[in-house]
Symmetry: C2
Amino acid sequence: MSILERRLFGPGPSNPYPEATAALGLPLLGHLDPAFIALMDETCDMLRTVWGTDNARTLPISATGSAGMEAAFVNTVHPGDVVVVAVNGLFGQRMTDVAARCGAEVVAVEHEWGQPVDVERVLGAHPSPAIIAAVHAETSTGVRSDIAALGAGKGDALLLVDAVTSIGGIELRADDWGVDIGYAGTQKCLGVAPGLAPFTINDRAFARRVEKPHSWYLDLGLLGGYVGEAEGRGGGRTYHHTAPVAMVASLHAGLARILDEGLEAVWARHEAAGRLLQDGLEKMGLELFAAEGHRLPELTTVKVPEGVDSAAVRRYLLETHDIEIGAGAGAYASSVWRIGLMGRNARPDAVLLVLAALQDALDHA
Amino acid sequence: MSILERRLFGPGPSNPYPEATAALGLPLLGHLDPAFIALMDETCDMLRTVWGTDNARTLPISATGSAGMEAAFVNTVHPGDVVVVAVNGLFGQRMTDVAARCGAEVVAVEHEWGQPVDVERVLGAHPSPAIIAAVHAETSTGVRSDIAALGAGKGDALLLVDAVTSIGGIELRADDWGVDIGYAGTQKCLGVAPGLAPFTINDRAFARRVEKPHSWYLDLGLLGGYVGEAEGRGGGRTYHHTAPVAMVASLHAGLARILDEGLEAVWARHEAAGRLLQDGLEKMGLELFAAEGHRLPELTTVKVPEGVDSAAVRRYLLETHDIEIGAGAGAYASSVWRIGLMGRNARPDAVLLVLAALQDALDHA
């Protein structure tokens, strides 16, 4: 069977940075090998940089981004806690389900899809929530919300943020913005295959955590020893579970690539690529879906033109050009496309290719 | 920095099969790409073979083996359910913690470490348990237990089995033995990096499952759509979470390697390597730890000789020969070594190497 070479211009995974792929093929280390422990320490340090945090408790959770969401809620929601969730897309919706399973009294603040979070409405939804939760970059709609404004107004509540599609792609400053708990994924702008959930929690949130959460696997009280929190850098490790060694090595390589280029330069590269794509799509006569002024550069949503079969276009792109773009999410499955330019794909040549291919598909599909 | 090439003769991870490592370096597929869906279908089929099951609900859970344990309990334990756990090592102990967090009334049947599960005592521990749980191959002690006998006597209870260290290494026949729920890991005898938990559950157990478990990420009701259970092979997929695509591709390659060699031939290879190692250790004058007649071939426990510094020997092996062996677990941390011959390392040349290196370490450390 011949090897497929897809260009991944959907909502994620993106094509990993070559350094991240190469690291997957290195000889495997044991999870308690001193060399792996050093690699894990460096990975956590680099994660602190991309999160914009000094939090000691910053680590790659050993599962995909959705497990990061679960870790965030299962460790911080006590039964009956009021959790205000800003819902402006699929991942806000998912938060309400996950929080409810943890015993939260959920106050969902619904928004029209394609719009950013209405900060006033969210902050006014309840007088004294335990947690306010929001998605920084909604993967389902391509919209960026103002996390700093939520942090400024959160009061005594903990601010819990989904940064799956923002981390490594757009400005993210967890500490400056007042983020208490954050989770992300590796397979979008970090340019690493899916499989880990970069996670961070500050002392304030950790002090209020659930002592014995329902989840053993995601229990942050136990995971502290796993990344050597008690012993410090290079110190001993408490065996909790076997680290996904190859994936951590790959994340290490991806992060090193990003920090070598410079985090702000990487953000600028995503910004430039996204603007080029969005201008190009409008020049083709297509209409963007996300509200103007709140569009993510790394993930663009565009309306499927009247009379065009969304799935046929996507199939044509995949079969003719080995190019993947995404369908819309939820009610917009067949009326919106999602085009991602993440990690190594946030480059002008990728923009030229995807625009030309989409034009070809519209002409032929 | 030069690349380390460790020989992983500890309790896991083992050195992956080269096919499994090569697959990690292939171009990444999207998680909804028809080519990935076909790969996932084939992976689930091959997992059915190594499990010895026809269960439709057989899949690689997107996290490490310990999350497999959590998935097993969180989906099947209703609050107040009596769960009898056979505890003859660390992983049986862990089961009691995980089950209790799910609301179980746990009946722990304690055994001396190094001994197999006492089937009579476990079956007699409670008149009507909802679940009986046991570890097939205790990674902490190197002991095999008789799962078939537990299955024969389980009555109406569900039999929940940890096959992390047995799958792909020794005989495992989930259906014939009456296993209702099973979980495993990829990083031992399957010869793949850590990161996935091969999982299986039969219709009987699925029918009794928790409708809305505390865990969203591990909810088998939602994961059915993820692997196309409703639609059948090659059918549509419900988006649940982004599959860890590279790891699934690697598992696919590792399983294909095993089935190409032949599952029974692979078991025989592990058996032969383990016997050769155990004979060699005894010829060196060392004493084995696990009870005779119940020793795992893939994981050998051996007592540290009087007066020998366990950690110094392990450090010497790692630094001088790039060889990893494991410390003991729990109370046996410094009095027992664990030597794994798993997957590609279940070969006579590996046995010769580890025996020679251990002799060298005992002479010099």
